[in-house]
Amino acid sequence: MIGEIVAALPLKPIVAVLAIPACAAALLALLPGYRLTAALNVLAGLLTLVAALSLLVERPAPGSYFFVDDLNIVFIVLGTFVGFTTSVFSASYIGHEIEIGRLTAVNLRFYHAMYQALMFAMNLALTANNIGLMWVAIELATLTTVLMVGIYRTHEALEAAWKYFILGSVGIALALFGTILVYMTARPVVGEGYDAMVWTLLVSRAPDFAPELLNVAFIFLMLGYGTKVGLAPLHAWLPDAHAEGPTPISAVLSGLLLNVALYAVLRFKILLAANPATIAPGPLMVVLGLLSVIFAGFMLYQRRDIKRLFAYSSIEHMGLIAFAFGMGGPVANFAGLLHMTMHSLTKSAIFFAIGHIAQVKGTQKLAEIRGITETHPLLGWGLVVGVAAIAGLPPAGVFTSEFLIISSTFARNPALAALLAFGLLIAFGALLLRLSQVAFGEPLGGKAPVEASYVPLIAHLSLVLAAGVFLPGPLVRWFQNVAGMLN
């Protein structure tokens, strides 16, 4: 029934997923006015989400440019969902920014266009069946976010954008070299030309590839895309980019862009796994992941800026996810996917909350924010729930995934599990320390009521909480299937 409806649509879902944001970006670049554009932005987000969801129903056959499989559809649905909810949040957030004059009308037009361009780039990266195309898409996504991070034009924002730009460029260069190497590896087997970059062909022929070249390729790809993922010590751009840009962008960065980069890494991990003679990519991911978790855990203690705090928390969680995928195996892969989903939802929810909090308090400094649960109960408790969830307390889904990651690791390598637990504990301590200062105590800072859109916040958090209590069977099977692919 639904399948028929989808089939009858004028646009194929896969096209729609790309075309809607692309057209919206072009349109939004032209249209003036705040209310209309914000609404259009939300509408485009919604339509993209619908298109992505219909991909679930009707999955196109893999073409030479685009393809959809069990793995990338997770990312697409998650990405479009977070993109949509963030656009809702963005509408109220940006409204306030316009009011206080932090953003001008021109900025706004630019902002909305870039927002949809980013959506387009990410969807492109996710659906691309060509490693070169994927690379181009990720570079595009990076560039759009660089521009958005710098949108406030303050000294700090420009500096953050600059840092992001330079480090991102080097990362992108390394990734390109890796991509070229993969092509070189594939060429003797698959043949010259376009085919040697088509993902589905690469995987099917991978066992015949020269393993040495593939190893070197993976190192470059891991470092290149790993920079985007924000793994320590390649993370440097991430905290500042999160802290200085508009909060919706922080939410999108943490909730989406990091995932897209991770997706790229996973793709190449699959490629390597298909060739038994190559090095196991797992240990590299495990080491970088563990390093990120512990490093970010310690860094959290010294943070004075609320958004930078949660940016470091993103590093920690991306580390954890990389760790899980690096460990591999059905349980850890499942947990990694689940964790990625939960992290996206939770972290963007946290950014929704702190976006409004920072607006109402007029500051991002942790020391100047106190007792939000008193002055703004809904925001405050939303933040408490979000942070508790991200810190891995039940009944949030993050708890489930952390449980699976640690306990499954422990059976295989107790020392690693203990180290991971140590890192998580360190991070937990820091997050809760800051949370209890911000959420409780004698209220400090603005007490004015806030015109916030609570819907995205509540929607994300309830999804996360529900996932901790109950994961629906189809979802579990789907994730298990993907976990099998990643092995």
């Binding site: 070169g132 195309l133 690379w135 181009v136 570079e139 560039l143 000294h155 700090e156 420009l158 500096e159 600059w162 730009f165 330079i166 460029s169 080097v170 992108i172 260069a173 390109l176 070299f177 070229i180 190497l181 092509y183 070189m184 590896t185 060429r187 003797p188 087997v189 010259e192 030309g193 376009y194 040697a196 970059m197 015949d208 590839f209 020269a210 040495e212 070249l213 070197v216 802290a243 010294q302 943070r303 004075r304 800026d305 930078r308 991002q364 400094k365 020391a367």
Partner: protein, 220 residues
Amino acid sequence: MVQFSLDFAHLLAGGLVLISFMLLYQDRMFGLLNVFALHAVVLSLSVSWQAYVQDAPHLYITAAIALGLKAILIPIALHRVVVRLGIHREIETVGGIGLTMLAGMGLVALSMVVMLRVTGAADPLAREDLAFALSVILLGLLMMVTRRNAVSQIIGFMSLENGLILAATGAKGMPLVVEISVAFSVLVALIVIGVFLFRIRERFDSVDIEALDEVRGDRS
């Protein structure tokens, strides 16, 4: 003929590595810009040779971009930046030039070891071409991390990128090469514009980080 084309390609790639060393050796700003222009010219030659050998005319576009943009436009632009912003004419290095040269030798050796281990399946052209390309890339990165001036860092990045183009054009039949080289040129242009716009005079680090962090409140 095949052997000759290979040898010539190797000669050009090897020349690129050599010029990368020359870049490392420079301690004067203008000298650096000139050597970089030479770097771009050699790259352009190499790309053209590949276009000819592989009979891939679209690669001439890439060669043209390399020549026009990197060998001429950007050096001139940077020249003006240096003059306009009154940037020091001397290049500040970390660890001294001799040491960076030694490190560069090590890097070349490393890339040879890494790439020459790749045996059998890959054809020798690709293998040796890649070894040179990797050397150029690593030397470019080395330059970025051992030079304190923003301009020399940009040049490091561009030489890194030249290495990438070298690798991409050497990879016979690789699609999207032109697009990629265009995309990279845009990136480089943006960086140069960034330097110009943000008045990053001396170094990428010259933005007073300490003072900034006070503002951000990330330092107690």
